[in-house]
């Protein structure tokens, strides 16, 4: 069967072109990278900590925190923690000043996204720390955990 020699040759051609292109391109990427270490190592500054859902709920009840949703806007629009602001991580630089302009630098900020391994809230938290906010926390797997605990959420209004 011809496929027995065609497939390996296609793969060899692909590898040669891919590696060759990576060497000559302007933004070469390394062949190997410690992704897990880089994500965790660069994610947290000394001002960022994780927060439990109970602590986050208590802060919401006392109006002592601002919640910021790091997910893309379509997901925010489908439902979010009550009173949360929308600041998608991939639009953080463009939209941050509109979102955070009235937040005092010492206010508790809780970023959240969805999924145990979602890093959007972590990245957003570090970003906000770099902007000067002193009390930034991340609620890991925030949207799911919040809903599982039947805590207050805002849902889209259904038009009649």
């Amino acid at each position: 069967m011809k496929a027995l020699w065609q497939i390996p040759i296609i793969l060899i051609i692909t590898i040669c072109i891919a590696f060759g292109y990576n060497q000559i391109r302007a933004n070469t990427i390394p062949l190997m990278c410690s992704w897990s270490e880089n994500i965790s190592g660069n994610t947290f500054s000394e001002y960022v900590s994780t927060i439990s859902v109970d602590e986050a709920a208590a802060l919401l009840n006392n109006n002592d925190a601002v919640f910021i949703d790091a997910r893309p806007e379509p997901f925010y629009n489908q439902g979010h923690i009550q009173g949360a602001l929308c600041l998608p991580w991939h639009q953080a630089e463009e939209k941050c000043f509109d979102v955070i302009e009235n937040i005092p630098p010492d206010k508790n900020i809780i970023t959240y996204c969805d999924g145990e391994s979602c890093v959007l809230s972590d990245k957003l938290a570090v970003f906000l720390c770099d902007l000067g906010f002193e009390q930034v926390h991340t609620l890991v797997n925030g949207w799911t955990i919040w809903n599982q605990n039947n805590l207050p959420i805002d849902l889209p209004k259904i038009s009649q």
């Binding site: 497939i7 040759i9 891919a18 933004n27 190997m32 893309p72 991939h90 999924g115 391994s117 959007l120």
Partner: protein, 155 residues
């Protein structure tokens, strides 16, 4: 309808399917070649590969898509090309399904490095449709009577 007419219809359909499927892979591969770093991030978010393989995979897969797509359109080495196409589609569907089952909210990374392209059951449905078409090509290529002629060469 005579056998020769049926073969002609299959020949025409297979040419169209080859162009469409080849175009899909080329369209999918080029953005990832241009922004390999972001695609590597999308691969990492799937949490399916060890860290040491992520960059190599991110460098290689987009080129494999472009090359397989191009070979499919031109009609080079059709047996190997179609088998690779099917294997890639099955891999993509499996990867998306595993992470939907895990409840991960991640970017698909299928056609762009845009983090807004989130995976869901629609992603799987789309890929299943593409896989169905590629299985049809598998049928066409390995039953020689209805193998379509290539643009430049005959298989």
């Amino acid at each position: 309808m005579t056998t020769s007419n049926i073969l002609k219809i299959h020949r025409i359909i297979s040419i169209i399917v080859r162009f469409v499927l080849g175009g899909i892979f080329i369209t999918a591969g080029i953005p990832k070649i241009l922004d390999t770093a972001s695609f590597a991030g999308a691969v990492f978010n799937y949490h399916l590969l060890p860290d040491i393989f992520i960059n190599i995979f991110a460098m290689t897969l987009p080129w494999l898509e472009v090359i397989v797509g191009s070979f499919l359109i031109i009609g080079i080495w059709m047996q190997g090309t179609v088998i690779l196409y099917n294997l890639l589609m099955i891999s993509f569907i499996a990867a998306v399904y595993v992470n939907i089952s895990r409840g991960l909210d991640i970017s698909c990374g299928c056609f762009s490095t845009d983090p807004v392209e989130i995976i869901n059951m629609g992603t799987i449905l789309r890929d299943v449709v593409i896989l169905s078409a590629s299985i049809y090509l598998l049928f066409v290529v390995f039953i020689k009577k209805i193998t379509s002629d290539t643009i430049f060469t005959k298989n």
